[in-house]
């Protein structure tokens, strides 16, 4: 009886112990049989993902580097990921020095989430960003203000390709564009240009196809940390040959007929104060494209062969909007920031995966107002050396994929940092018509 009782009392424990041992053995044997270190060049796809997700690359499991929405893209959007070894990206010494020397002067005001005292470099170096800081998300996004592009950005040969998930290539719109930063400049000249009112100025001039050739836009973002003053926006309308003032409240509207909002430029364009809240969710590793091949747009190829002209987009296989299969994805450590846009914004949430060492977004996604997965952002980036030797890191391909509608707009650009000879007056409203009538070429 006692024994019976004893047996009875211990039976569940023993069964649990036995089950645990068997389970452990199974796990260990499974890992021993299947978990392995993958080689660079291995291509993850929907067919092999489940079997390799516990394998490792650079000592991290694949699953730990594939966030949920990226996994969804692999399984449901035919996304493939070719593994590549991570390479150290050195920021320009001027950027590093400006960050180091300037950070102490930067003040974050929790009351209105604005910053002051920033001159150049990152306002908040990684070592100052703490996961338990309720404003850490704002600080990561403020770091985007210290662009990694350099003082002037030449969005050379930029073109938006419109892609249908079933039918493939639809059409293209090609532009020339420049952005001139009025602050945080590290090109050897003054760090700040003008009276400090303006943060940046940008023009876009269309040159293909013919119906939009000569159409130009110019926008000016003000240097207001609370984002209350809207951008100035203008369009040169080639068909009527005059410049027209545009709404300054378009930051959450689509860029023309694309799937991309102005706010999606570089995945996250708005200053953090435009959003209701920005939460730093975690710091983690992801697979990302940080070394896209040198040529993003092959201008030697005809418009009639879009796959050759835009070789870094896989337009050959459905759903026609993923990065080309031969592009390498490498492990990068990122901050994951979840933004809550204002109620009038089309998104209810935007999440961005931004490099820890410098402010460079690699991946992102947006939820619609119902909280459903709407858009995926996969951006290809690469280090670039400007005409003046400045070491920049540039986004060169942006895959904006509307997964609900089965449509995408992918932009590609032979982005160039600090192009030679560009003056502040070369990126201005007064020059827009002249640039547009020369179609930016």
């Amino acid at each position: 009886m006692h024994n019976d009782l004893k047996f009875t009392a211990h039976a569940p424990v023993r069964r649990t112990a036995l089950a645990s041992a068997v389970g452990l053995l199974l796990v260990l044997s499974a890992q021993g049989a299947q978990a392995k270190a993958l080689d660079a060049g291995f291509v993850i796809d929907k067919d092999n993902y489940e079997s390799i997700k516990n394998d490792t690359f650079e000592d991290k499991t694949i699953a730990s580097m594939v966030p949920e929405k990226l996994e969804w893209m692999i399984k449901n959007h035919n996304l493939t990921i070719k593994l590549a070894h991570s390479k150290k990206i050195e920021m320009d010494p001027k950027y590093v020095e400006a960050t180091k020397s300037g950070a102490k002067d930067v003040k974050f005001n929790p009351a209105d989430r604005t910053i002051s005292g920033w001159k150049a470099g990152m306002p908040f170096p990684p070592e100052t960003i703490k996961l338990d800081d309720p404003h850490a998300g704002d600080k990561v996004i403020w770091n985007l203000r210290a662009a990694t592009y350099g003082a002037t950005m030449d969005l050379r040969d930029i073109a938006w390709v419109f892609l249908d998930a079933k039918k493939g290539y639809e059409r293209v719109q090609a532009f020339q564009s420049r952005r001139y930063y009025m602050e945080g400049r590290l090109d050897g000249g003054p760090v700040s240009v003008g009276d400090g009112d303006v943060s940046q100025k940008t023009y876009f001039v269309a040159h293909y196809p013919q119906d939009i050739r000569g159409l130009g836009t110019f926008s000016q973002r003000y240097n207001q940390a609370d984002s209350k003053k809207p951008d100035d926006s203008y369009a040169y309308l080639k068909s009527v040959r005059r410049t027209r003032r545009l709404s300054g409240g378009a930051w959450m509207d689509p860029i023309g007929g694309t799937d991309q909002l102005y706010d999606d430029w570089d995945i996250w364009d708005a200053w953090p104060t435009k959003y209701v809240e920005n939460k730093l969710i975690e710091k983690r590793w992801v697979l990302a494209i940080a070394h896209s091949p040198d040529m993003s747009v092959d201008t030697a190829q005809p418009w009639t062969d879009p796959q050759k002209r835009f070789p870094r987009i896989n337009m050959a296989e459905p759903p026609f909007s993923n990065p080309a299969k031969d592009i390498g994805w490498e492990p990068r450590e990122v901050y994951v920031v979840e933004g809550t846009p204002p109620p009038e914004h089309p998104y209810s949430k935007k999440v961005a995966y931004i490099e820890v060492d410098f402010p460079r977004p690699y991946l992102g996604y947006a939820l619609d107002r119902k909280g459903e997965f709407w858009k995926m952002f996969i951006f290809q980036n690469r280090p670039d050396v400007g005409d003046d030797g400045y070491k920049a890191v540039m986004p060169v391909i942006g895959h904006i994929i509307d997964v609900k509608r089965g449509h995408a707009t992918n932009w590609s650009s032979n982005m160039k940092s600090n192009p030679k000879g560009v003056k502040e007056t070369d990126v201005s409203l007064n020059i827009l018509e002249e640039v547009a009538t020369g179609a930016g070429r």
Binding site: P209, D211, R244, G257
Partner: protein, 525 residues
């Protein structure tokens, strides 16, 4: 106007078009594979263009055709094709532009009927066009200019070009440097660069960043053709000649006089404009001396400074002086752009003589505006609000809809009914002190802007009448574009059925029974 000179110019235009076409298929295809572009460090060349076809159908019967027992409803009013070649090049610091366009029309049975009307109204002989399609067929080097910088601030552009100052849509307050060719167009051909008449100008822009602005100026040295001066209407009795004059070839009894003492094409004209930004607003101030866009009649019955060569009158474009200002700015509170434009025109010419030709309202005058020319000063005012309307929830559009409402008023200063001025020659309707037009348009965008329904409407608040233009623009691919629109007019009961009469036609009476359904297909390259 049909002289050897014109023939030579036509030949030259064809040669230029041929040269541009040759460039399109020649070595330009080589260099970098862009199809029609070359690019090197100090040289670039690009050729683009389109082939475009229109077909339009009359939606109403027009009273003029009753005379020959014909109707117009359901008949083709236009079958038109255009080829445009647009070349730009850069040689070192100099930018070059050449645009040529060739237009051809098929003589539809409706146009043939309009041409037959000439025999019924005494204008079959003596006109400037033997065939009605001569009104519309054209080969033209539309632009040919070079632009070069002088230092960082100054650029100078020399050659045949388009220069647009002003803000208004549909109508023109300060946009008076050029006239417009309104003979062939649809009422709302959106791209007004296609029907603006380029001029040979020397223009300059001087940027003054210290004052956040730019000074622009131009001189028209006076080398343009007569046909380049002022607005051109379909006065040879075509489909867009105003009711009740369709089929009446006015050129059989009139001439265009560009050597008039008050409006001589050889005269140098020009203007200066300052534009800038201040207090968050964009603004401009401009002065120009130009030719009156709309012609007036220099009547044989009461010649104005010179006897006309035309049997009844000459069309002249006296010079005017215009002082204008524009301002626009974004209102965050309204989330809209507000714009305004004012133009004071000195010496705007009008014709004298209300009433029917043979029964003028004022004894001693000559009716339908053939009683001379009188100049008045006018004030043109435009107020506009542009707003991106959030119609996504209502109509399922893919982005906010660019929409605009505009009020446009022309006031005759020092207006005096006793001046007996008419609104337009050939009509006996009296000019009113104010002419106010309210217009509005919106565009809906679907499927990444490939399907774009639009709607425009205009109402003459002073006299009644208006227009409505529902449309659908389609982007079919990189190469193919299509547009379908209906141009619907109503006259507000103020239109003329009888020529040379005292009937009460106002602006939209001219377009009475001209409603059209229009299809446009473009293959661009």
């Amino acid at each position: 106007m049909t002289s050897k000179g014109a023939t030579k110019r036509k030949a030259a235009s064809i040669a230029v078009l041929a040269a541009l076409a040759g460039a399109a298929g020649g070595p330009a295809q080589g260099a970098n594979g862009e199809g029609s572009s070359w690019a090197a460090d100090d040289f670039s060349f690009n050729l683009s263009g389109y082939a475009r076809g229109w077909v339009s159908v009359n939606l109403q019967n027009q009273p003029e055709l009753d005379v020959i027992d014909k109707d117009s409803k359901g008949k083709l009013s236009m079958v038109r094709g255009s080829l445009l070649l647009d070349a730009d090049a850069k040689t070192g610091p100099v930018k070059w532009k050449a645009i040529g366009r060739a237009d051809r029309e098929h003589k539809t049975s409706y146009l043939n009927d309009l041409e037959r009307l000439r025999e019924t109204n005494g204008t079959a002989v003596g006109g400037h066009s033997s065939s009605i399609t001569d009104n519309y067929n054209n080969n033209e080097l539309r632009e040919f200019w070079a632009e070069m910088p002088f230092g960082d601030r100054v650029t100078v552009k020399v050659g045949k070009q388009q220069l647009v100052w002003g803000e208004s849509d549909f109508f023109h307050a300060m946009d008076l440097v050029h006239g417009y060719d309104l003979s062939w167009r649809l009422f709302f051909e959106g791209e007004n660069e296609e029907w603006r008449k380029p001029l040979t100008l020397i223009s300059t822009k001087i940027r003054v960043p210290e004052a956040n602005g730019m000074l622009a100026a131009y001189v028209r040295p006076g080398v343009d053709r007569c046909e380049d001066i002022g607005n051109t209407y379909d006065i040879r009795g075509g489909r867009w000649f105003f009711q009740p004059y369709r089929g009446f070839d006015l050129s059989a009894v009139t001439d265009k006089d560009c050597d008039h003492p008050d409006g001589d094409r050889d005269d140098v004209t020009g203007g200066v404009r300052w534009s800038g930004e201040a207090f968050g607003l964009s603004y401009s101030l401009a002065y120009l001396t130009s030719f009156s866009a709309d012609p007036v009649a220099n009547s044989a019955f009461k010649p104005y400074k010179k006897a006309p060569s035309g049997a009844v009158f000459d069309l002249i474009h006296p010079k005017i002086d215009v002082l204008g200002a524009t301002v626009s700015g974004y209102s965050a509170a309204l989330d809209a752009v507000l714009s305004a434009e004012m133009a004071y025109t000195k010496d705007q010419p009008f014709n004298v003589g209300t009433g029917a030709f043979l029964a003028p309202n004022v004894p001693g005058h000559v009716g339908i505006g053939l009683g001379g020319v009188k100049k008045k000063n006018t004030l043109t005012t435009m107020l506009r609000i542009d707003k991106d309307l959030d119609l996504q929830g209502l109509f399922g559009t893919s982005r906010p809809s660019f929409s605009s409402i505009q009020l446009f008023n022309t006031q005759v200063l020092g207006f005096d009914r006793d001046d007996d001025l008419v609104r337009l020659f050939a009509y006996g309707t009296a000019l009113t002190e104010h002419n106010t037009i309210l217009t509005a348009f919106t565009t809906l965008n679907y499927a990444n802007d490939t399907i774009n329904p639009g709607f425009a409407i205009g109402v003459d608040l002073s006299h009644g009448g208006g227009f409505a233009i529902p449309s659908l623009s389609l982007t079919l691919s990189d190469e193919w574009l299509a547009r379908i629109e209906a141009d619907i007019f109503w006259s507000g009961g103020k239109s003329n059925k009888t020529q040379f009469s005292n009937e009460p036609s106002q602006l939209f009476g001219y377009f009475d029974k001209a409603s059209q359904l229009v299809f446009r297909l473009t293959r661009q390259f």
